[in-house]
């Protein structure tokens, strides 16, 4: 008995330990992004985020002038250590391994740095990245008459709201339509039902990129291009096959008895859908909502084609983030803070709905 308990305890420790390790490894990129987003521009460019952790490194304690009249080939002696120039360039370490002599620079304008091995952390943090993202960058503009004015660049607020404006209806609309469709396919009898359902499923394999230009042509002729309605409809169209398929799997698996007794009691299809199907399929609806919301939130291409080309007032956040890095990518440090702000919302959505997510995924796959 005792050994069984011990074995159980051990195995649960092993499982939990492994899970913890996996979670930790999966969290590292997010953590790295968070840390980087607080580091100054030049630090991000010159050293890794992990240097904020205590680490051992060489720190310069003293600088010596370079000896005169030395050549590259002959060894020289500095502070009791004899080495050639090239060896000093690589760094010569003293015998007790605590001091390093490093030649910095070249023969003409160099210096010798005496370094000691010390523990240190690189704790130089700043809110500047977030300032640039949230308040907008500032630019110095010299006017034609020579005066200098400071211009405030676009901030995140507009793009943030725009992304919500795109993402919420683009999540709600396909769910509504797909729930109706899934019910119809699962519980109503009508001609060509199977063929139509296969048609919907077949649409899953159509890549959305090939539809962009034809849809855009239609939008232009309908004068819809560059409006939020255009993006909603596009996301609805692209999301519907998966939504219908996912919800069909779930709804068709609901117990037949409940629906039949409702029919016998005289309920119409609409009542059954509203009173029985919807409440019963909340896990599936929620899991698809997460899928769709995350996809739309992170979408760049669809928004770029249907929204962004014409007007910068209706830009979504993905476009804004990309612009923050500058015309040639010279400001990629701004990406850290921008990306972190943008993943906050998906994280909140995911964590608040995740229990549905797991249930919905499982329930869709296990019939009964």
């Amino acid at each position: 008995m005792e050994s069984l308990k011990v074995r159980r305890l051990l195995s649960s420790i092993a499982v939990n330990g492994a899970l913890f390790l996996i979670c930790f490894i999966w969290t590292i990129p997010t953590l790295a992004l968070l840390i980087s987003s607080f580091r100054p521009r030049d630090d991000i460019k010159s050293s890794g985020w992990w240097t904020v952790l205590p680490h051992r490194g060489w720190q310069t304690t003293e600088e010596l002038p370079i000896p005169e009249d030395m050549t590259r080939d002959e060894p020289i002696t500095i502070e009791g250590i004899t080495a050639t120039y090239d060896e000093f360039r690589e760094g010569v370490v003293s015998e007790d391994r605590q001091t390093q002599f490093l030649w910095v620079g070249n023969l003409r304008s160099g210096r010798i740095e005496v370094r000691e091995r010390k523990w240190g952390v690189n704790w130089d943090f700043t809110f500047e990245n977030y300032g640039q993202v949230l308040a907008g960058k500032t630019y110095e503009i010299t006017n034609a008459d020579g005066s200098v004015s400071i211009v405030q660049g676009d901030n995140f607020t507009g793009a943030f709201l725009n992304t919500f404006t795109v993402a919420i209806p683009a999540t709600v609309i396909p769910i509504l339509i797909a729930a109706f469709a899934a019910y119809g396919f699962a519980w109503m009898r009508f001609p060509l039902r199977k063929v139509m359902f296969i048609g919907v499923v077949a649409l899953l394999v159509v890549p959305l990129q090939i539809a962009l230009i034809p849809i855009m042509r239609d939008y232009v002729s309908l004068d819809l291009n560059g409006t939020f309605l255009a993006v909603w409809l596009a996301h609805t169209g692209f999301g519907l096959p998966l939504a219908t398929y996912l919800l069909y799997n779930y709804i068709s698996g609901l117990p037949r008895d409940i629906l039949e007794s409702a029919f016998i009691d005289g309920a119409s299809h609409f009542t059954i859908f509203l009173r029985l199907i919807l409440p019963l399929s909340v896990p599936a609806l929620a899991s698809f909502a997460i899928f769709q919301f995350l996809w739309v939130w992170n979408d760049y291409l669809v928004a770029l084609i249907f929204l962004g080309v014409t007007n910068s007032d209706i830009q979504v956040m993905t476009m804004r983030i990309q612009e923050m890095t500058g015309s040639r990518g010279q400001d990629f440090h701004a990406l850290t803070a921008g990306a972190f702000v943008s993943i906050l919302v998906p994280m909140i959505v995911f964590f608040s709905l995740q229990r549905f997510f797991v249930r919905g995924l499982l329930a869709g796959s296990v019939k009964g």
Partner: protein, 460 residues
């Protein structure tokens, strides 16, 4: 159940509110002049009928939509540069920049939603639209003698595509500069080389002193290799005739084309290869060439003391220099010296051509405005652009370095456009980049790389 429905209604209501808040375009507050009064500078001459009308406020309240690849700081500078014009005429120029401009412009033109004006950094891309008949010929309304007065003939020639004037040159950037760190350079006693051999001697001297002379990096994501193509063009211009350069980059007919496999191109590639692959010439060793981001490449130049000393790149690279470094004080440039005196001192440039897709009077007026140096004046003062217009004075430039470049370009023996931007996309933005990358990463030998590049040239 009721609760859920009302929740849904609330969500929808919020969305609708958000829509109303964000979706409604701002009512333009037009404070343009009254119709009839000429609001633009009196110094402007050679105005087209439309620009004249615009300056009298006839198109007050109209909107001209513009797309282009410049974003962020450049977008702000552009908007500031056109602010005066918008005030004078009441025309609202709505510029949207996108870093994926090459993709979006194709989608929007093919989709029938072309912007009124688009800014093309690659004439090769514009040529495709010209051939499809999508682009308006600007010579139909712009005053010919004005264009000839305000542009060098080379610019006008480069705007001619497929028999029409496909657009007007609005800005350019110059490429033939070698940047170096001034204080350390002087302290070390180095001197600025005037010839290619002097430059090699300087490189050898720096190697002998224990450093790597050149900062080179050609990594750039999907576009890895493009800085190497710039270098190739520089060497081509310095080792062969302009005719050969034109036949190589922008052949008038397939028979005239100078292939990459020709001895001239091979010679240029070999010269470049000798420079880069000489032991100790490039910081980080030759394997660092392909793996260093082009924007990070010049950064070791600003270490104290510098780890590498020379970096050839277009004038835009200064935005990658460390914050606070001052032009002329911390860094300066010299002209990449000629190799063969027979070919003089050519200057390599690239630039932005504005093309017009929708023919409306206010769009015509805006296009005419862009033929004038005044459309760039604030940008020149703020730095980051060079003006192709003759009426843009040198003292408009905000810093000495850019003024110096503009002066050098104006006095250059010849000026040629970035060849890879002129070549068909499959080569100029494809195999040329890739071939150079393959060669410098040591995957293939030079002849194979050049043959690979050439094979991608479209057969038509």
């Amino acid at each position: 159940m009721l609760k859920k429905k009302s929740l849904l209604l609330i969500v929808l209501a919020i969305v609708a509110l958000a829509l109303v808040a964000c979706g409604t375009p701002d009512d333009g507050e037009d404070d343009g002049g009254e119709t009839g009064e000429f609001m633009c500078p009196e110094t402007w001459t050679g105005l087209s009928a439309e620009l004249d009308a615009a300056c009298r406020g006839e198109y007050d309240g109209t909107v001209v939509v513009m797309n282009g690849p410049f974003t962020d700081e450049d977008e702000v500078k552009f908007n500031e540069s056109i602010a005066d014009f918008e005030e004078w005429t009441g025309i609202d120029i709505q510029y949207t920049g996108s870093k994926t401009f090459e993709t979006t412009i194709t989608a929007s033109v093919d989709g029938g939603a072309a912007p009124d004006i688009a800014d093309f950094p690659q004439p090769g891309l514009l040529l495709g639209f010209v051939k499809d008949g999508k682009v308006i010929d600007v010579s139909t309304f712009l005053d010919e003698s004005w264009l000839e007065q305000n542009y060098k003939q080379a610019w006008l020639d480069m705007a001619m595509m497929d028999g029409i004037m496909a657009g007007i040159w609005a800005r350019y950037n110059a490429k033939s500069q070698v940047w170096y760190p001034v204080p350390e350079f002087e302290e070390a006693g180095y001197t600025v080389p005037e010839t290619w051999d002097e430059m090699l001697a300087l490189s050898d001297q720096i190697v002998a002193d224990g450093d790597a002379p050149w900062c080179v990096g050609i990594e750039s994501g999907d576009a890895t290799g493009w800085p190497a193509t710039d270098w190739m063009e520089e060497v081509m211009l310095r080792t062969t005739s302009l005719e050969n350069y034109d036949r190589w980059s922008f052949p008038a007919s397939p028979e005239e084309r100078l292939p990459f496999t020709s001895p001239e191109v091979l010679n240029a590639a070999q010269t470049l290869s000798d420079l880069w692959l000489t032991e100790g010439y490039v910081y980080g060793g030759t394997q660092a060439i392909v793996t260093t981001f082009f924007g990070d490449a010049p950064v070791p130049m600003f270490d104290n003391p510098p780890k590498c000393w020379l970096h050839k790149q277009g004038n835009f690279i200064t935005s990658f220099f460390p914050e606070g470094s001052v032009a002329g004080q911390d860094y300066d440039f010299f002209y990449l010296p000629p190799i063969d005196d027979a070919y003089g001192k050519p200057y390599l440039i690239a630039g932005d051509i504005y093309a017009m897709f929708n023919d409306r009077p206010e769009v015509r007026a805006v296009m005419d405005f862009f033929t004038r140096g005044d459309s760039l004046r604030t940008w020149l003062a703020s730095g980051g652009a060079l003006s192709p217009h003759n009426d843009a004075a040198l003292d408009w430039y905000g810093d000495d370095v850019e003024r110096g470049i503009a002066e050098l370009v104006a006095n250059a023996d010849s000026v040629r456009f970035d060849g890879s931007d002129l070549m068909p996309g499959a080569v100029g933005a494809g195999s040329f980049w890739k071939g150079m990358t393959d060669y410098f990463s040591g995957v293939v030998d030079l002849e194979t790389a050049l043959a690979e590049i050439d094979a991608a040239w479209p057969s038509e």
